[in-house]
């Protein structure tokens, strides 16, 4: 008898443990036809950011809750590596209903059906207000899978005092860039810091008329692309530029902050960084110098809807509101990011006129995204850059051909 009792106890204990692991099944299909009066909760997944940015999002959510009292938005801050953590959540089907998605990850998420198309919930006319180049990053086969919340382009950040001392003009073309870099280079300062990073040299490939990925396959092994890359690395070889590593800094931003170079190519994230790290550096922002044509990269993040959400309509409302005019005006006012709506961008540039170059570059930009094999393509491009810098190849064309061969 005692044995039976003990056995039963063990069994119950084990069961209790297991029950803890099993996910609670919530109400399922009937929720599709949502009762308007019913309160629904939408989990919003985001990464942790600065206190100012957190406050902006909190304010946007508060505004949303005022407008939609029956939808409660619950913020879930993903700590640690966002990409890794989100993948684990998706595998466990416990990801938030709505979450941030970097444009770089979008092709895989769309291809594998992790996120839902939003077309049935959005107004096609309203879509035209978004910067087309950004929206393209979240569009596939005519369907829109995410609405961009903010973006950044690359621009030239330069030290005004150094330019004045060297009596140089802010460059607008490749030739002027080379001349300025030469004039600004002294024994302790390089004209420009150029990192061994595809995310910084790809604009030069675009400016030379080259491309990376045409939507189906890689197309970077061309004379044009090689021309852009050759120009980029020629500045280093001629001694007017160097990599952050060789200058002993962590990244391009440090080089400008520590006055180790007069120019760097970076995005809007430099603004809070410089205010914090180097308030004494008097810097300006200019459009990227142009090669045969204008070209740039844009980095953007969108709100997307999980395929596992039980409240699609409510989730779509959240996405629409947070990328809507009111929320985008809040973004513009805060100056923390660039609004993705054309109708709001003037609000931003009027308030922060010195940042206009970042906004001006968006029309010449392609989003930082190269299909489902982005990670591999970028690896190979980065290595092509390193090979050119270390002199492992005779020229950029050879390096790009090797990269293309490795990918095929």
């Amino acid at each position: 008898m005692k044995k039976m009792v003990s056995l039963l106890l063990i069994f119950m204990l084990t069961l209790g443990l297991l029950a803890g692991c099993v996910q609670k099944e919530e109400a399922t299909t009937e929720d599709v036809k949502e009762n308007k009066e019913e309160q629904v909760t939408i989990a919003l997944g985001c990464w942790g950011s600065s206190p100012a940015e957190t406050e902006l999002l909190d304010n946007q959510i508060a505004e949303f809750n005022k407008t939609f009292p029956n939808i409660k938005v619950e913020k879930q801050v993903i700590t640690g590596d966002y990409n890794e953590q989100m993948q684990a959540n998706i595998a466990a089907k416990s990801e938030p209903d709505v979450y941030y998605l970097d444009v770089y990850q979008a092709p895989n998420f769309i291809e594998r059906g992790v996120i839902l198309p939003l077309d049935e919930y959005i107004d096609k006319g309203d879509l035209k207000d978004f910067e087309d180049n950004l929206l393209a990053g979240f569009t596939k086969d005519g369907k829109v899978y995410g609405l961009p919340k903010d973006y950044n382009t690359l621009a030239l950040f330069y030290n005004k005092d150094m330019f004045e001392a060297a009596n140089s003009e802010v460059p607008t073309t490749w030739e002027e860039l080379r001349a300025a870099a030469k004039a600004l280079t002294t024994s302790d300062v390089k004209g420009i810091t150029l990192s061994n990073d595809a995310a910084r040299f790809i604009p030069f490939i675009y400016q030379a008329g080259g491309d990376i990925f045409d939507g189906n396959s890689i197309v970077f092994n061309t004379e044009e692309a090689a021309k852009g890359l050759d120009f980029y690395y020629s500045l280093i070889k001629d001694g007017y530029a160097d990599t952050p590593q060789n200058l002993g800094v962590g990244w391009n931003g440090d080089a400008l902050a520590q006055k180790k170079s007069a120019m760097v190519i970076e995005g809007g994230w430099m603004i809070p960084f410089m205010a914090d790290a180097a308030p004494d550096v008097n810097y300006g922002i200019a459009k990227l110098p142009k090669g045969d044509k204008e070209g740039d990269l844009a980095f953007t993040v969108a709100y997307v809807m999980s395929r596992n959400t039980k409240h699609q309509e409510a989730a779509a409302e959240v996405i629409k509101f947070l990328t809507g005019k009111q929320a985008q005006e809040m973004v513009a006012e805060s100056g923390l990011a660039i609004p993705t709506r054309k109708s709001i961008s003037s609000l931003y540039t009027d308030k922060y006129p010195e940042r206009k170059p970042l906004v001006d570059m968006v029309e010449f930009s392609k989003v930082y995204q190269f299909g489902t094999d982005s990670a591999k393509i970028l690896d190979q491009l980065n290595q092509a850059g390193e090979k050119i810098q270390f002199g492992n190849v005779s020229n950029a064309k050879a390096a790009l051909e090797e990269a293309a061969a490795a990918l095929n």
Binding site: K2, S6, I10, L13, C21, Q87, T243, Q245, G248
Partner: protein
């Protein structure tokens, strides 16, 4: 701690199973009761081991024969079977071969230097010098520091205007970008690993040294052995077991190197894959290229390599003991 617990549980379980039913009937219930209580006590550990150790290993083994990514709509059990193709792909994969080569160089460089230095330090802090507790603590502290913190610290040493170049500058040598050079990036990480884990092996050697009875040294002394001879004929053979333990642990640790390579190369394994290690590559394929099945196969290849190397070491160094 976990392996120790696990061993205890295993011992207990085997004892329980072995315990024979005594002829006396009244005792039967008692013995069974004891068995039951035994299981009850070990139940938490058994469940933890099943859920967090054995379960995941089995799942990973299954995944290594599948094509799966965390983004897939179906669960990992529905994923497509691909047979051995993940494994055959590994041997055609140039980056994997590079990662294997890097990891082997890393291990071959780190293990001997690390163990030699650790043994020397252990001998020093075991001798009758002043302030030996201070040195023991000082040498052990790096072990307690997070590898990420150590990696960041070494970034400051090896960067182009870092400490190392400042030091070399005194002798008129030009500054060098160590971590940005294909030849020096891996050795830089190796230095880091040696520095940060030497204390651990030193402590284990120290424990081994203190277990050697003084009488052996006295006997050697009487026989007229000099210091070198008493080290070579007394200390060294007596340390064999400790040495084998350190060798295996150090080798496994070096084959699993990840943090340092990740921090130094920003997760790229660069420059030009010169710091790409097997675990870093595994991580990249799983999370960045969305190939969990392939990543699992790499994990098993790595496990097999470590297993074979451990067997070889056992054959060479550890015949007499029961590791």
């Amino acid at each position: 701690m976990f392996p120790v617990l696990y061993k205890e549980v295993k011992k207990m379980a085997t004892n329980l199973i072995k315990s024979k039913t005594p002829p006396n009937k009244r005792k039967i219930f008692f013995v069974k009761r004891e068995t039951l209580d035994g299981w009850l006590f070990v139940l938490p550990v058994v469940i933890l081991t099943l859920v967090f150790l054995i379960g995941p290993i089995l799942v990973a083994f299954m995944l290594s024969f599948k094509e799966y990514s965390f983004l897939d709509a179906g669960t990992m059990f529905d994923a497509k079977w691909v047979g051995l193709s993940n494994y055959t792909d590994i041997f055609k994969d140039k980056i994997f071969r590079k990662a294997l080569l890097n990891t082997s160089i890393y291990s071959l460089g780190v293990v001997p230097i690390q163990l030699t230095l650790a043994l020397s330090l252990a001998l020093v802090v075991n001798s009758k010098i002043k302030g030996k507790s201070f040195f023991r603590t000082a040498y052990y502290i790096p072990t307690q520091t997070s590898t990420v913190a150590v990696a960041v610290m070494f970034l400051f040493i090896f960067k182009s205007d870092g400490l190392l170049n400042k030091f070399l500058g005194i002798f008129g040598l030009p500054a060098y970008s160590w971590l940005n050079d294909v030849r020096f990036a891996l050795p830089s990480i190796m230095t880091m690993a040696i520095w940060s884990s030497i204390g651990l092996y030193m402590v284990i050697f120290l424990a081994g040294l203190q277990e050697i009875p003084d009488s052996l040294y006295e006997a050697a002394n009487i026989d007229g052995a000099n210091k070198w001879q008493s080290f070579w004929f007394v200390t060294f053979p007596m340390l064999k077991e400790t040495f084998f333990f350190n060798l295996v642990v150090s080798m496994i640790g070096t084959f699993q190197v990840f943090d340092q390579a990740y921090i130094v190369s920003n997760g790229n394994g660069g420059p030009l894959n010169s710091t790409m290690t097997m675990v870093l590559y595994l991580y990249r394929t799983g999370f960045r290229e969305f190939k969990m099945g392939y990543a699992s196969a790499i994990a098993f290849v790595l496990a097999i390599i470590i297993f074979i190397l451990t067997l070889v070491q056992k054959k060479l160094f550890g015949e007499e003991n029961q590791m």
